[in-house]
Symmetry: C2
Subunit: 256 residues, 2 copies
DNA sequence: TAGTGGTCTAGACCACTCC
DNA sequence: GAGTGGTCTAGACCACTAC
């Protein structure tokens, strides 16, 4: 490309750069191939490194590139589709293949989650503010092709799993499985899902092998039982490598 | 906050800044209020403007802030939930309330869309490569509370709407409505949906009142009819202001 | 015209990975 | 230790909005 000069309404340099590099990725590079380093690329295009980085950041956001500190910038494979459909209502399962329970502890949920668990914000019978009531927090990881693609925290009020207290008090992974098992016995009356853009918290970022603040797709699910919100799941998916799919093909079978 | 010193494993400044500002937004600002300008904020926190901007960018990505050139930075209202559920299969409708048809033209679809329309990549009977066959491209806008939240291009192969050619050849909005009407008469056998992160193309950005490259949620829908993919919709939603909801509450009615 | 956010530069140093 | 991407600085100018 030699059209760097004479832009009548000059688009930003980083935007133009992004286009040029994107086309080069299509025609001259294979998946997994490593690009020249940022200083070399900046020199080649005659821009400051910060400007080049702005273009690379966009391409990484779009899932075209993958950058790793100390290693380099590589051409990313196409995003993997991960199924998050709600065709059949079901509780998070304990012995599931896609999700793996990692840990569980009792904790006070963040305010946003507390609002979902208890929209009216009513106090507990004892007068304790509902928002400050601790809940079980089950942490799970979702893998796909050996890669971690999502980290979830599942918030379960103790009231939703009353028989759990009787079964002693195992810790960590054992407790996680116990909570998931206890949920299975409840009648699931409906669920509710939302997807939005977020940035990875430090702990989720670590489990997803990303830096804190990396862009993620946050999937929030409410599970309804007994006329109440019995559990809330907040799952963060790597936005760079994932495409969330809602399979809903009806009576037709599609190859792909 | 005075814990700027003595970080044993110092987190990045912009990350710390983001946290501090985020807490300030919760406690000291109202929705719609304008913040001090970037130069003033950078001076107040003792960082370079670029560092401050990194924090603001993250907060904008999370939907906490809204920045407009020439105006300032304001506290954003909570994200609006927009329903994209597929509970009942249905074609995009012509006289719908949420979507408004804007335009229509015949064009060659981008390669990614061509692959969805024709997974086998088979040639047309005449020998013309299928990927180069033009399709109707209907552009629609989705508004919510007077704000444009999404821009869509709906790709409809001429083969999907055979009776359309007979009805003359209106232009623009008229053609758009004609294509949508013609789709209604087809039996819809299923649909398929995916959500991923993208950055706004220049034309979509203009219609969404954002800068090119702004983060968007891209919702791709395939409509199946007659054993084929009869149409493909690519809708880009403003990621900063939107939360995509998949209402699927079953037999339960939830307030909120 | 003044003030805002958006772009860009040319440096510097740090954290990390790999050899 | 060499090389990578990540963070940060202190400037500059531009495009846009509002008065």
């Amino acid at each position: 490309m030699g059209t760097t000069q004479l832009e009548p309404v000059p688009e930003p340099k980083y935007w133009h750069l992004k286009t040029v590099i994107s086309e080069a990725l299509d025609s001259e590079f294979e998946v997994g191939e490593i690009l020249p380093n940022e200083r070399a690329l900046a020199a080649r295009f005659g821009v400051a490194r910060a400007t080049l980085r702005q273009a690379l950041e966009q391409l990484e956001l779009e899932g075209r590139l993958q950058r790793r500190r100390g290693v380099g910038t590589t051409v990313a494979p196409p995003r993997v589709g991960v199924d998050v459909s709600t065709a059949r209502h079901h509780w998070p399962a304990a012995g599931e293949d896609t999700w793996q329970a990692v840990d569980c502890a009792a904790a006070v949920p963040p305010a946003a989650v507390a609002r979902l668990l208890d929209p009216e914000g009513e106090d507990a019978p004892g007068g304790e503010p509902a928002a400050a009531r601790p809940v079980y927090v089950v942490r799970r990881l979702r893998a796909s092709n050996g890669q971690s693609v999502a980290a979830e925290q599942l918030y379960v009020p103790a009231a939703s799993v009353p028989d759990l207290a009787a079964s002693g008090d195992p810790a960590g992974q054992g407790l996680a499985r116990g909570v998931l098992r206890a949920l299975q016995s409840l009648p699931l009356e409906g669920q509710d899902r939302a997807v939005e853009l977020g940035s990875a918290r430090a702990d989720d970022a670590r489990e997803l092998d990303r830096l804190p603040g990396a862009p993620v797709l946050v999937v929030t699910t409410r599970y309804f039982s007994g006329g109440r919100t019995a559990a809330v799941s907040v799952a963060t998916y790597r936005a760079d490598t994932c495409r969330l799919t809602f399979g809903d093909v009806g009576d037709l079978q599609i190859a792909s």
